[in-house]
Amino acid sequence: MYEIKIDNLIKRYGQTIALDNVSLTLERGKIYGLLGRNGAGKTTLLNLMTNKIVPTSGEITIAGQSVEENDAVLNRIYHMSEETLYPPSLRVREVFRWTREFYPKFDPDYAEQLAQRFELNTRKRVKELSTGYTSICKAILTLASNAEILLFDEPVLGLDANHRDMLYKEILANYIDNPKTVIVSTHLIDEVADVLEEVIIIKQGQIILKRPLEELLVSAYTVSGEISQVEKYIAGKKCVGGDILGNFKSVIVFDDERNQSLAKSLNLELGKVELQKLFIGLTNA
């Protein structure tokens, strides 16, 4: 079937290593979250997947075929890139028209509908769009492309709360209607968390985690209470992150099992961990 396979990918820019031996297999038909801090390598990875830049070493294949200079395979992907690659002088509706030439499955009616819903004026030229509307334009193109693999790089950049809400719903509706592989790359984790099926966390060019979201959320929990008591509880356990306020400390513990009795004896509270807090804990230096 088709899966996206990334093998020992390294991308170096002079002395800097942007991606450090990344290997990943993305099964078909899921919504993945590619989460990482600014500069972690998310955009580099997506650009490599679409042949916009070339690896220093390693390979990316889709259904067994390399993406490098491969029109057939690349045509199955649509990439909402961070950079706006559309000709600034072209009107939005012209971009729609040309996209249809290169992506035969592009649905112009759907694109029009979305444009109306988001109140995007398709007569405007690309260069006249605000940051938010540029994102909306790119997102609409991605959704209407009907490609089997959709890559969204920071899809809600510049979008107001209403449009963010609408966009997540559209992505979901589109995904349900027409099962495909979706990768949402972002550092705005809170809102997107529940839309995701699987989470990939990238830190300084390395993949530190790839797990189904639910599994991830039950594999950790928070411990909070008086500092010395918390220290006793977490002794010997794997923890990340920690908030301290006066005598109060809260830590995230990585463990499947919660030690309720110990917590009770130490007068501590155990709680569920949120994806964003977990992410911060994992990606702080």
Partner: protein, 123 residues
């Protein structure tokens, strides 16, 4: 249906409970149709796999059933089933916590009973 994304429980369990609540309150009658996983997913912005999991949980427990090509419906006797399940869980879900909190605040058994009596008068 209100989902609290900050709560303790996994989303799919919250979803199952929210649906059960709707059934208990009579918002969705027995033999009535439940919103599709698509509708639930898009409206609450949760991944469809999660939505499906919550719904399937209720199917497994005999609270919902699937009519091929039409959708999900509430089983006859679902209300009863839910009530029984909830009653069995009542102690763990509510009473244990109540007792704990009371202990924390040094509320005596008698004070507790008085509170409950006072509360039930309004019911």
């Amino acid at each position: 249906m209100i989902l609290d994304f900050n709560s303790e429980q996994p989303i799919y369990l919250q979803l199952a409970e929210a649906l059960e609540d709707d059934i208990l309150k009579g918002i969705i009658p027995e033999e009535g149709q439940v919103p599709s996983t698509t509708e639930i997913s898009v409206t609450t912005k949760i991944n469809p796999a999660t939505a499906r999991k919550g719904v399937n949980l209720l199917v497994d427990e005999g609270i919902l059933y699937k009519k091929r090509g039409v959708g999900m419906f509430v089983c006859v006797g679902a209300k009863e089933k839910i009530m029984k399940k909830r009653r069995d869980q009542f102690y763990q879900s509510f009473v244990a916590t109540l007792l704990d909190e009371a202990k924390k605040l040094n509320i005596s058994r008698q004070e507790l009973v008085a509170m409950i009596k006072g509360g039930t008068d309004d019911v």
